[in-house]
Symmetry: C2
Amino acid sequence: MAPDGRTLKHVQVREYVRSLVSGSAPGSPAPSERELVHQFSVARMTVRQAMDALVVEGVLERIPGRGTFVARPRRTASRIVGFTEEMARRGLLSESQTLLARREQAGPGVARALNLTEGDAVIHWRRLRCADGAAMCLEDAYLNEVLLPGFLQSALPTSLYDAFEARGLRPTWAEDSIAADLASPDEAVHLEMERGGPVLRHSRRALAGEKVVEVSRSVYRADRYTLWVQLGHA
Amino acid sequence: MAPDGRTLKHVQVREYVRSLVSGSAPGSPAPSERELVHQFSVARMTVRQAMDALVVEGVLERIPGRGTFVARPRRTASRIVGFTEEMARRGLLSESQTLLARREQAGPGVARALNLTEGDAVIHWRRLRCADGAAMCLEDAYLNEVLLPGFLQSALPTSLYDAFEARGLRPTWAEDSIAADLASPDEAVHLEMERGGPVLRHSRRALAGEKVVEVSRSVYRADRYTLWVQLGHA
DNA sequence: TAGTGGTCTAGACCACGAA
DNA sequence: TCGTGGTCTAGACCACTAA
């Protein structure tokens, strides 16, 4: 489809307009379609193809009879992020202490969640996660070793999600479950809280495309953590 | 734009194709563009406009050189639903007992959340919500009286979200916060649980377009409720 | 080779908004 | 009245896929 040497005209126009309006205030006018026809010496349908893409993206908004304008940014559902980015968003410095990082054979539950067969090799990574120096969460992550070759052999990353990103495996879909519970004795020790104190249990199954990249169980100190979720759009 | 008497051609083609493929299995071929050009005696660009819309909607998928096919349904983020639909989804019968339903003056927090001024009239509706006969949740909802005229004067609905729907105020955006905690004595009595038992606190601010339609605080028995959330798409 | 979608042209008329 | 976006035409050539 895309000729090798040259850039498609509608892409040229699209990216020109995108750069023009990037940074413009919502409501600012974009060039009119006929104006762009003259500037680029292209047909109007070509310009419309370019603008259509930006409208679908939510960058532009058309008002018949008036013109095309910079759209106000859409509200979008929560992005899928890991602990590190979540804490950064709250202005907290995150640190982690690896309690366990090894190759294991998948049990029935983990195998099913990772779309693997029982006994397949998985990476089990257990960390105590702190924010601004205070124990916040105990996290057990299970990863598909096939998708992360050499993961345990090289230095463990600070952010698992950065490691996904670097491998083109940024999660695009997540199924989370959230429940309240009381801390087990072992959890209480790690989280430096009293036994039987309240905790928030957060489980996640994250996919990149069709690949299950992460299955995890986290337990948060209830007194230090509130989960925020945005749903819907527009 | 839209002439009164007749239907736009690209809309005709679009709806024809939509009805053709509705119910078809993912991967089934849709008519080719040139085929539709002949059937409808329209230009190819008109057919493409129709098909483009269906592709953006996620109904169709184009494969260059091969044809256009029915797309597999997209995974989408959690819909914004209320208690009634949430329980129905779990196969549970929900019932509610109204503990309080009255007009109040908005306090500072509720006023800010509802985009109102302190002292404005709001509806405060407190319900004990049960699933399959068992106490599940204690919910305090605050509503903008202006958006729900006559709400308290007529029979209270079973489902608040049905009432929104009937008024064209179905929430399209929600900001939720979720935390673990221990039940207060009062909550424990209503929820028929021991004092200091674990609960899940779920707060919501729901918008329909730009209008804040609901601000609520719910407290769930931790032993009976786990929250499920899906994020992302594709 | 025949068919498909992707790109592109050079026009046209319409309804609507602002001046 | 003029400019805007919305619709529509009747073609064209391209790259790709499958037979």
